[in-house]
Symmetry: D2
């Protein structure tokens, strides 16, 4: 998917503590990058964590993560973590990620979150305010999301 089709990205600079002795970012740290981008995505949409999101009746837990590594990010490079919601199910939300360094695609990924009730921690339908906000931004057709 072309970068320009993402409505959101988060830029960060690779830290010293994130690269290994081969001067490449350790594979697990990309999940930290995904987490940071998804947090900023929700903040931009009006749901900072925890207050905004929990107040809206949502807490999100990752149930599946997939990362594909095409090229490596190195120390001190600025990289852009593109982030979007591709699908909202009853209680699950699929986030897609792409990490770019300038015009080069480094990493793609997918996180499946389950929406939980902040009090009971049990899975629950995502609250309407959150679903509506995502659909407005992502132009997802709700009739295709059952």
């Amino acid at each position: 998917m072309p970068k320009q089709d993402f409505a959101f990205f988060h830029r960060l600079r690779v830290r010293w503590t994130e690269v290994d002795r081969q001067d490449i970012v350790f594979n697990g740290h990309y999940l930290t990058y995904f987490d940071l981008a998804m947090t900023e995505y929700l903040r931009a949409m009006g749901f900072p964590y925890p207050s905004g999101l929990l107040d809206a009746g949502s807490d999100l837990f990752v149930v599946k993560a997939t990362v594909e590594y095409k090229a490596s990010a190195h120390y001190d490079e600025e990289i852009d973590i593109y982030c979007r919601v591709a699908r909202i199910g009853r209680s699950s939300i699929q986030f897609l990620f792409e990490i770019h360094r300038g015009d080069e695609l480094l990493v793609t990924g997918e996180n499946i979150y389950v929406n939980a009730d902040p009090k009971t921690k049990q899975s629950a339908p995502a609250p309407k305010v959150l679903r509506d906000a995502i659909r407005r931004l992502e132009k997802i057709d709700p009739t295709h999301q059952a």
Copy 2:
């Protein structure tokens, strides 16, 4: 797959720095656990990293990681990271992981590694000594691995 069908596991204790404000291990840290288990698996097989593995003509890079989260590990718990090679291709090696806390399955995962020439860093067929060692341990039928 039943735990007893794994030839290898690595036990560790969850660290303070690995749990978050919900007292659960952050999703990305499970890739660190996979990395630790795979390192010990190779050491047990006679290929410690870097000297043993590089000397055998192999360096391994993750090209795809998948993690499924079924239940959470918490602070100070002892967990077992089961690890095995399920498939050896020409230059790729598929590792499967299961993380158990006692009898409870917490996480499953898969890492696809590409074997590279330690000097050129280009993908290359996995060296015969490594393939043979894995096949002996895992009882993988080489005729099915092309």
Copy 3:
């Protein structure tokens, strides 16, 4: 202080994610090592965290940390984190650390903890059971600890 004068040490192996592009452990990770050693020290003494220590009426917060780096630990090395309590004040406890790789001293450090009431999180005198256990192990003269 000679290693043999420490009553306790914790051994661990340096992880891939803890070394940097110079193949040395990042300076901040030694505080993780100190934390692990101190946790095991308290466990060995009968105060695992959280249940044992909090039940005894103690929670410990670091108020000052000092680390001196004499030589570097590298990837995959086994290192020993020696740990002892050198002084117990009214509500503060001074831990000293030494990290050795075999016979070579790599790092020394000191953490000052303040004992807090687990409920109020306010500083409070360390409970008698904890003080007594430490004094028995460390042979600290209580008359010198005011």
Copy 4:
């Protein structure tokens, strides 16, 4: 020392992976924050790492770190890491740090670096271009720095 007497600070937002189950930043992560601030300080001065600094004939290694914790940073808070060089010796450089959340001082610290020759990794006098740049910014009197 008043904030306004620092010529430089670096702002960052506390990450999910940096807070523990008490929702406070783990004590060791403040050394990562110091490292980030010092890196940006050198970049601002014209010595990005590695190219700028190594090209100038300098590589810096921490030989002593001290951190005093006065109050805790929490998840998602924006904090400012103030950073300055207080003293340049023959081959050692003393950095001082203060971490503020708005007007509240959270943490103070000191890192002593030794300047090393990038090739031999042996300690060596800090190169003149680096000393001069620091002295210009910090208005340190060179006659007091022997």
